[in-house]
Amino acid sequence: MINFSYTVFIVLIPLIFFVLLGFFGNKFKPLVSGIIGTSGLFISFLLSCYTAYQYFFVVPKIAGAFPKLIAYNTVWLRFTDTLHIDLGVLLDPISVMMLIVITTVSFMVHLYSIGYMKGEKGYERFFSFLSLFTFSMLGLVIATNIFQMYIFWELVGVSSYLLIGFYYEKDSAVAASKKAFIVTRFADLGFLIGILILSITTKTFDFISLTDPKGPALQQGSSILFLGLSTMTWSMIFVFMGGAGKSAMFPLHIWLPDAMEGPTPVSALIHAATMVVAGVYLVARMFPIFVISAPAALTVVAYVGAFTSLFAAVIACTQYDIKRVLAYSTMSQIGYMMLALGVSGYGGHEGLGYMASMFHLFTHAFFKALLFLCAGAIIHAVHTNYMTEMGGLRKHLPITHLTFLIACFAIAGIPPFAGFFSKDEILAAAFENNKLLWAVEYAVAGITAFYMFRLYYRIFWGKEQHYSHPPHEAPLVMTIPLMLLAVGAILAGLVPFQNLVTSDSLPFENHIELGIAIPSILIALLGIGIATIFYRKETNLPQKITRTLGSFYTAAYHKFYFDELYLFITKKILFDRVSTPVAWFDRHIVDGMMNGVSYVTNSVSGRIKGFQSGQLQQYAWVFVSGAIALALAFIYLWTL
């Protein structure tokens, strides 16, 4: 057996660098701290690659399946002999895959940030937070038990909060970071409830025994609990609520677009490639429970995913801030992954959706990180986020232009780019299970192609704007990650996922079905075509369409008024109707009682303080007369 205990260093190295840069970062020159952080991540990246190589190609399979290995384990908190919380490293196909994704994207983002953050205040703070985030995310994916996952889940939330609010002098960034934190915390409450129900029912935290399809844990909790759903279903719905919060699924999606206030590399790392897919990873991690004990919860996952992907894609068509377009696109793509998990079965070809979801997660990480980093390079060049103030940039930013185009093709699903393969698997899985969801996703594929090319044409084609200074290509340290990720966006689709990452760890036969693939290519081309007609040259067609759609367009432009709705619920209903009366009760009744007690004490003591006159002989008089009175009383009693 191969010893995998070195994998613990993949996680620990970012932690060490976080502490180093966090405490001693100001001792170094900014550039040095950037290079230190990046080199730390590079070591993690190399270790992850080595782990993946060993895991997938060297470790002997058990009955044809990839084994689940506990590479490292330690008891972290012992309550009793049977109840203890462990920290450890679990290696199985999805966690190894996530290690690769996270360390790759994180390394690229670190490298890119050396250039992007140049001259910013808090350079070393930025790098220490990036390391903290990477540490937490890696800890999350290698969690051996659900409690460890929860700990790192919260750590990820904290580092996301810190990085969104990186420009803490900007009010909007502060508001956005608070919003992200509060919304995800609210969702995490659901996650915690889910964990408690699950662990009470199954008496274990451990993933291996929880997700063993033949194990005793899955036989528990199938009785009806509440509203016609079983215990297990409820716990899985609550767990999914946590996942939905982190992954910005409807209706907990409102924080993600605002999170774009953070620096662009952060958006690429956290809000596109890694943290937001934690929800997908969570569902995938618990997948056997979902599929065997809680199919109803899985249906919820599928419909929430499908609805979010459509909803977000429609909004993405109307936004002008390029990072917000990408944010909605991220939500839409994560919706795809959720949907794929939702329509999946367990084992063999039944588990196509599971494989497709993980596959899409993998490819999406590359092309979405690439899109965000390109957006960063564009913003770096023209100093604006709004596509209305851009245009004709292809001559000025040749490398960014080319890599952005590759990423657009990848996300639109044009072969041979990565997105085509994974999206095709998702559509195939949906087609086999639920025609309605397939139709939704099919439409979303077209919309995706449309809004991505709308973005592309508005930025790189069209009329050239007057820029304050001529835009110039980003430095090499920024363009190298772009090129490497572009290579990833082209080649990631060729990874044979059906042999590596499947629902039951057994490889299965899978081919691209032309009946699914050709229509999806056609609708992507249709979307691209419409975008070309609308936006390649300056025309008034978009305005005409906008006017025809009228109020629907306005609603989509305002994100269907969800922010306003939530504000209404929290401000008008919660704050005004509930919190204000409660606050009044606290201030007047509870505090009033305490104030009353202190008032009485105060006034009584004010009255009687004259007794303490400071006249020694007065006290002596009282004492002597008391003593005499007592003596007389005793004498009287004796003589009685």
């Binding site: 303490q612 008089w621 002597v624």
Partner: protein
Amino acid sequence: MFEGVPLTWFLIVATIMFFIGIYGFLVRKNLITILMSLELILNSVNINFVAFNKLLYPQHMEGMFFTVFVIAVAAAEASVAIAIIINIYRRLINIDVERIDEMKY
């Protein structure tokens, strides 16, 4: 008992001394006089100790010891009290007990 002096006489002397002490303590205004009154009270108690010891347990010495003990403690107490009085005098140029009322409410 003491060659014809009865116990009652001792007790009368002690009682008179005691109440002179109490009286002085309550009415005199000079701190040093108050201290002297206190010594009178203590010494009246000492007379009682010695008298009762002789009457009840002539072969034992406990009452005597206790008296010596009280004298020693009284000496210590007097030194502390006089030190306090000196300090008060230094601060206030005054040792009138009625005007030393710093410690009131």
